[in-house]
């Protein structure tokens, strides 16, 4: 291993099934089904996936869903707004823990 992240891993992701084929099969079937048109369209799901990719900071998912969202007809300004939504939720999630800090501090302080 020369680095922790390798772009080839994305193309070879399916080989993760090798040592647990039944689980791998279930995962990829479920993954595929989750991304199909349903109550939400596959286009909408692509944007959600892009946002989550940033929230979980997965470089593989970011590459895959940037390409997927462009291919589904969104432009880079729309994709940037998705990233801001993900970042806002991440930032807000950190900040709201400040309430916990305040409650603890207020409880201890004079």
């Amino acid at each position: 291993m020369t680095s922790y992240y390798n772009p080839d891993h994305l193309a070879n992701f399916h080989s993760i099934s090798e040592h647990a084929p039944d689980l791998g099969k279930k995962f990829f079937e479920w993954y595929g089904a989750a991304m199909e048109d349903g109550a939400l369209s596959a286009r909408e799901k692509s944007l959600i996936a892009l946002g989550v990719s940033h929230a979980v900071q997965c470089p593989y998912c970011i590459e895959a869903y940037t390409k997927d969202a462009l291919k589904k007809g969104y432009d880079v300004e729309q994709l940037t707004e998705v990233v801001h939504v993900a970042s806002a939720i991440k930032g807000g999630a950190a900040l709201i823990h400040g309430m916990q800090m305040r409650e603890t501090a207020d409880g201890l302080g004079m």
Partner: protein, 356 residues
């Protein structure tokens, strides 16, 4: 109609800058030299898929390319059209085209360019074709409708019931202007409003207004059926514009788009994407099977892309419009190359949008 005061950004064409890729032979050499995976031989791919050789099924569309002159210089243009080009169809060739039309029952005349409206013979061809009772399509870049000397065009097109098929890569300005030149989006929206006012794109008027979206970059287009409803909603709420249908088409690795692919380092991966996305089901509806393409100089081709690559019809077929032979052309073998993967990738692509 008002003339637009908005200045569009235009660039020199490949032809003007003596870029080697202005030459068709150089484009074909470049495409053929790419080290792609197995399966990148188009004819062999058809055979492997059990489709045999690509053959015409008839001639339902008479596509005339009136020339290379255009008021825009779009980054993906497969024609290398622009204001610095001079090629225009002559009256002699236009009359030969109309003679062919009169002697056959080809139902549709599809007019393209360049900006075909800039050819002096444009109105003659529209008038003659409609007089002969044919359905006429104008492949319009929209901004020409607001250019100086052309503002009477929208009314002329409406009066003749011409279907307008116009390019708009995206319903937002960013991608449209990046691909088609700064200022193009704003003028295009203005032109669409004028067309709507004339009844274009409105239900019940019979005036069809089709928007054509294509990728702004090195990737495949969005599925036509998956985005049309979104486009209709966005165009209505953002700009109060209505249209009849949306076509989604693939960018062809020819001329300026080929040059962009090469200079941006995307060429090999884009071609591999097209090859990998080969879809046998998309082959049946490719445009060359029911179209004949006529060049500004009267030469005949299987499609507008072959025309730009100077790939003339198969041996034994007529070469010029003056030698038009409907029965020979109706079941001709199509001349193919690696660029053909552009029409068979994914949902397929043709002048009528996706093929499946």
């Amino acid at each position: 109609m008002p003339e637009s005061t908005k200045k569009l950004t235009v660039l020199p064409t490949l032809n003007r800058t003596n870029n080697p890729l202005a030459m068709a032979s150089h484009q074909i050499e470049l495409l053929d030299s790419l080290p792609l995976s197995e399966g990148a031989d188009f004819d062999r791919r058809l055979e492997t898929a059990g489709l045999g050789t690509l053959t015409a099924t008839g001639v339902d569309i008479f596509q005339v390319n009136l020339g290379r002159v255009c008021n825009q210089t779009c980054a993906h243009c497969h024609v290398d059209a622009g204001p610095d080009r001079k090629e225009n169809m002559s009256r002699e060739v236009a009359e030969a085209c109309m003679r062919v039309l009169a002697e056959t029952d080809i139902p549709t005349v599809d007019i393209t360019g360049g900006a075909p409206e800039m050819c002096p013979e444009f109105r003659y061809i529209v008038e003659e074709s409609t007089r002969l009772g044919r359905h006429v399509i104008d492949r319009c870049n929209l901004t020409i409708l607001l250019a100086k000397r052309y503002q009477t065009l929208p009314r002329f097109l409406a009066d003749h019931g011409v279907e307008i098929v116009c390019s708009l890569p995206h319903y937002r300005a960013l991608g449209t202007d990046r691909q088609r030149g700064d200022g193009v989006f704003e003028v295009s929206i203005e032109a669409l409003r004028i067309l709507n006012e004339l009844g274009y794109g409105r239900e019940g008027t019979g005036l069809r207004l089709v928007l054509v979206t294509n990728p702004v970059g090195a990737f495949l287009p969005a599925g036509q059926a998956t985005i049309e409803a979104d486009w209709k909603r966005e165009m209505k709420t953002r700009y109060d514009i209505e249209f009849s249908s949306l076509f989604s088409i693939t960018n062809m690795p020819i001329s300026r788009y080929l040059e962009w692919l090469e200079s941006s380092g995307n060429l090999a991966s884009y071609m591999q994407t097209l090859v990998d996305a080969f879809n046998p089901e998309a082959v049946n509806g490719v445009m060359c099977r029911n179209t004949i393409s006529v060049g500004w100089d009267g030469r005949l081709f299987d499609c507008d892309f072959n025309q730009m690559l100077e790939l003339e019809l198969a041996p034994g077929q007529p070469r010029r419009i003056q030698d038009f032979d409907l029965s020979a052309l109706s079941n001709r073998q199509i001349v193919t190359g690696r660029h053909c993967f552009g029409c068979t990738a994914g949902s397929g692509s043709s002048c009528g949008g996706a093929t499946i």
